[in-house]
């Protein structure tokens, strides 16, 4: 599988470490009234997607960047690759991830 890194171009997936669902970037507000319930969901619940999924990948054997990779879990087609820092910035600016 080839991941098209935004800065480095096509790189072999063997250089990366997989973390999981990119929803981990959307950490709940610890001050909200239902924080305990939200953190339970954040920590333990994942969708088991058969199809297009957004995932966090770490380029450990490369430039040490975190990426958000949109990938089809059935065909392994990589549809979109973004820098996780850009995605996180958008979230903190109030935009949907």
């Amino acid at each position: 599988m080839i991941i098209n890194h935004p800065y480095l171009g096509p790189r072999d997936a063997a250089e990366f470490v997989y973390l999981g669902d990119a929803s981990l970037l959307e950490r709940p507000d610890w001050q909200s009234e239902d924080a305990a319930s939200e953190f339970h969901d954040y920590l333990h619940l994942r969708d088991n997607v058969a199809g297009e999924m957004r995932e966090l990948w770490f380029h450990e054997q490369g430039d040490r960047s975190w990426l958000v990779v949109t990938r089809n879990t059935i065909t392994h087609e990589v549809i979109k690759v973004e820098m996780a820092r850009d995605v996180a910035q958008k979230i903190s600016n109030g935009a949907a991830a």
Binding site: Y7, A14, E15
Partner: protein, 190 residues
């Protein structure tokens, strides 16, 4: 022995290994320094200006290198951090850079952590393409390109510093393993 006359000298990870394999020459480069220069949060513009002013080379984009008249080679390896690669006879290599960049950067002497191997010759492409996942063909990987990648299972920085000539940097702790991976591949493709 308080007044000892012993003088300790550091040895290089591969003891100065050098061997000609016919189409490829493999040499360990000694007396080289690697100093990382990292950007403190929010100081990118200031640091880049200081690097240009004191080291004499512009801040390299990721995957590229810049060279200065002061013989500093700057390697763009990741966001917010570069490596300065230069000749150094020994001792702390980051002192001079710290003196120049002051509090505008986080500088760390990484020289002792890396083994540096130069591989050159026309046969090097065939040998490296078996162990390196990055496309090293002349069209895709021009002189001055640098990338961090892996060879076999080992993390390696690969720099193309001249035509048909690469510099490989790997961890000192697995220096022999990297040399083994490279030399076996050269023998297999010779």
């Amino acid at each position: 022995m308080p007044n000892s006359s012993f003088k300790l000298e550091a040895s290089s990870p591969l003891a100065g290994f050098s061997q000609d394999f016919g189409t490829v020459l493999v040499e360990e480069l000694t007396n080289k320094a690697l100093v990382s220069i990292a950007e403190p949060l929010g100081m990118k513009t200031k640091l880049q200006a200081e690097v240009k002013k004191h080291l004499g080379a512009s801040w390299p984009e990721i995957g590229t290198t810049t060279n200065s008249p002061k013989a500093y080679h700057l390697l763009g390896l990741q966001t917010d951090m570069i490596f300065a690669f230069f000749d150094h006879p020994g001792g702390l290599a980051d002192a001079a850079i710290k003196l120049m960049l002051k509090d505008n950067a986080y500088c760390t002497d990484q020289s002792d952590a890396w083994v540096i191997i130069k591989v050159s010759g026309e046969g090097i492409y065939a040998a490296l393409e078996r162990i390196c996942p990055v496309n090293l063909s002349r069209d895709a990987f021009a002189v001055g390109t640098v990338q961090r990648t892996s060879m076999e299972h080992l993390g390696v920085i690969i720099l193309k510093h001249a035509e048909d000539s690469f510099v490989l940097m790997g961890a000192t702790s697995s220096a022999e393993d990297l040399l083994h991976a490279v030399t076996v591949s050269i023998k297999n493709t010779n």
